[in-house]
Symmetry: C2
């Protein structure tokens, strides 16, 4: 069963969680002076409108009409009751998922790529640069750039560039230029931190070019709150009051923030962020100021981090391999409002295959982390006989990640880290 | 702009075009005796319910509740107005597409895979066999089999098995067994006709096994009519009366039949089937009785055919490479009710890339044939200043066909047939 909203029922404002934080958000620090950064420090990279959204205390931020026009190509996304999974598990829990995989790029990422492209275009920027690891973010920005007539250059982590040619082709179909990163070390497999350095350097030194980031920053999480806001209205249509539990996978925090932040003001709602044990920032990182990139070119952010020179093992959930996490998410974890848990990838793929055989759809490896946690929570509800309502973000489909399923199905997956053998 | 229907607004009956045919449908002939086949000839391969649907004269056939329950996982599918494409073309035409790509398998094929799996399960069949070329049909049957707890074995054209490993993995994720065909000639690249022979032979000689076909037959087209029936209601919601033109790509005819057949009784509605010049059955084939498979094991069907031993060039739109066409479609082409046109693949990919950059979504190469024709019709409307309403079937997404886009974008595509060079 699905609950659809009409195209004219998209949210017209983003939800800002900042006024709801019990601990104030610590400011980012300049990488040179270690003093709080001001708008002028960020202007070479970001449009003024986004810098404003980074610090605004307004409870809601209006979504421009030109952005709504594009979001309506796939939004509102469906809310789906996973009744076949419930039956398979024999759980009294009612499981709902918000299907963000229906966007043209196949994930939640276009929710922020579209406004970022719009604001840049509006302020006269001609060209965007960015990095991508697994490829979801690069695809989203390539898509958004095509629709606003911007050039787009994507620095793709070299290992992914080789392993995921379909992601590259997708970006090229939308007209983006894609190059492997790091650009100056042709033998290096690359990392997200290194690719950020490449993209920032390009934007900072090119005419009419800006940089675009797909997670971590406040304005990115702001743009993703359409997920949770829509889900709240759709749960009402489904006859539910509020969820007891909201679950999302968490890499940089944009997907998890999108589904969870609109529920922060609702005290009875548990919020659970799920990450891989191989890159367990929230559950095993230290809370500290750290750089967003490997080269130390970005501001220092207050976050749980494994260190900006952390090189994660080559797990399949490429979108969950960032060394840090969004400051907003970290603030809420530190304050006890958000819980976090971590799973090894073998348990994650087991859940993904169970979901595919019950509900029919094949999830992205990132999304499968949420599915793992949801199944475990639903089984716990079965133990206690509780009728809890679980909402999770189905952040993306796995149709460009089927190589990972192949490794799992044919026993080539290391439980925790890299694929084994040939 | 999209027009959604609610899950409880799925059609509860299939539309049967047979009572609307002006020329009677000629019967299939037994491959041995060349006499009309009876139900008893088909019983070793198909369940009784489907054999009945093959010949029924009822105007509508009820859809069982268990089938509706599964169809509701993704149906009703959205109807989308391609306004950005209209603006890019500067056409006064209003272009709508019915988005069948939202199914778990990514195409229209599950519309018939689900009832076929259901009726087989209900009649005690334990295992289904089938063939697949490009992989869309095999994926759909693997998905449907998983949901009804049937075993599924897919004979995949060997060339596709090697070139499209993601399609194989998709089927395996749903629990199907996939083997390259022809099974007895390990060096042969295979063809759809040969794979049909493999699958039919397996079903005919295995216990509790049936064969399942994804196109061509009357019951398959019947199951696909939910596409056109929903589209008709959604066009009304969009404020349109009837389309002036309905367009669909046509291989075996199931997608085209699905969108077009419900409009056969509306005399003002043009119906246009689009095929590749490299396998131009409707536009260049001869109308004759011919076998459905290469080995001559299936009944002879009255259809436009290129000959059952025709080996099509290796174009990317693998789903449009069948030597024949559905007898119902051929009957209507012969009677002048359906028009047909053919395009070379270079023109088809040009249209697909234009569509992706305008609307954001990346179409299956098969679907791109319809897009090519729609763009040309919209440009013709611009010439004459006509406000015509065009409806087409967006039969599948291209996310597992990005290798084809890669060839096109990097100049490795032969205009008409096989990829060139390395």
């Amino acid at each position: 069963m699905r609950w659809n909203l009409r195209s004219d029922q998209v949210d017209e404002a983003w939800f800002n969680v900042i006024p709801h934080l019990t601990e104030p958000l610590q400011p980012p620090l300049h990488p040179g002076t270690r003093q709080p950064v001001g708008p002028e420090d960020l202007a070479p990279l970001f449009p003024v409108a986004l810098i404003g959204q980074e610090v605004t205390a307004e409870p809601y931020v209006d979504i421009p009409g030109e952005v709504l026009d594009v979001l309506r190509l796939w939004r509102p996304t469906p809310l789906v009751r996973a009744r076949r999974l419930e039956e398979r598990l024999g759980t009294p829990a009612r499981i709902y998922y918000k299907d963000e995989s229906v966007s043209p790029a196949g994930s939640h990422k276009p929710n922020t790529a579209v406004p970022q492209a719009f604001y840049n275009k509006k302020e006269g920027v001609r060209r965007l640069t960015t990095e991508t690891g697994a490829g979801q973010w690069g695809s989203a920005l390539a898509f958004a750039s095509a629709l606003f007539g911007l050039e787009c250059k994507v620095y793709m982590v070299r290992a992914s560039y080789g392993q995921k040619p379909y992601r590259r082709v997708m970006m090229e179909t939308w007209g983006a230029e894609v190059v492997p990163s790091p650009v100056d070390q042709p033998e290096h497999p690359g990392s997200l931190g290194l690719a950020i350095s490449d993209a920032v350097r390009d934007a900072a030194t090119s005419e009419e070019s800006h940089y675009s980031l797909g997670s971590v920053l406040n304005h990115v999480l702001l743009h993703q709150t359409v997920i949770g806001q829509e889900a709240r209205r759709q749960l009402e249509l489904a006859g539910e009051r509020l969820p007891d539990l909201v679950v999302g996978c968490c890499g940089g925090g944009s997907n998890f923030g999108g589904i969870a932040l609109p529920f922060v003001p609702d005290p009875g709602v548990r919020l659970l962020a799920v990450e891989p044990t191989a890159c367990a920032t929230l559950t095993a990182g230290a809370f500290d100021y750290d750089f967003g990139d490997t080269a130390g070119m970005t501001p220092l952010l207050p976050m749980y981090t494994l260190g900006h020179d952390f090189i994660p093992p080559s797990i399949h959930a490429g979108g969950l391999r960032y060394h840090g996490d969004a400051p907003i998410i970290c603030n809420l974890v530190k304050a006890g409002r958000i819980e976090a848990s971590a799973y090894p990838q073998s348990k994650v793929f087991e859940a993904a295959v169970e979901f595919a055989r019950a509900q029919g759809t094949i999830a992205a490896p990132e999304t499968a982390h949420a599915i793992r946690a949801v199944i475990d929570e639903a089984l716990a509800a079965k133990e206690t006989g509780e009728e809890r309502v679980i909402l999770f973000s189905y952040s993306g489909h796995g149709l460009l990640d089927l190589g990972a399923y192949d490794d799992y199905l044919h026993g080539r997956l290391d439980a925790d880290g890299a694929p084994t053998g040939g």
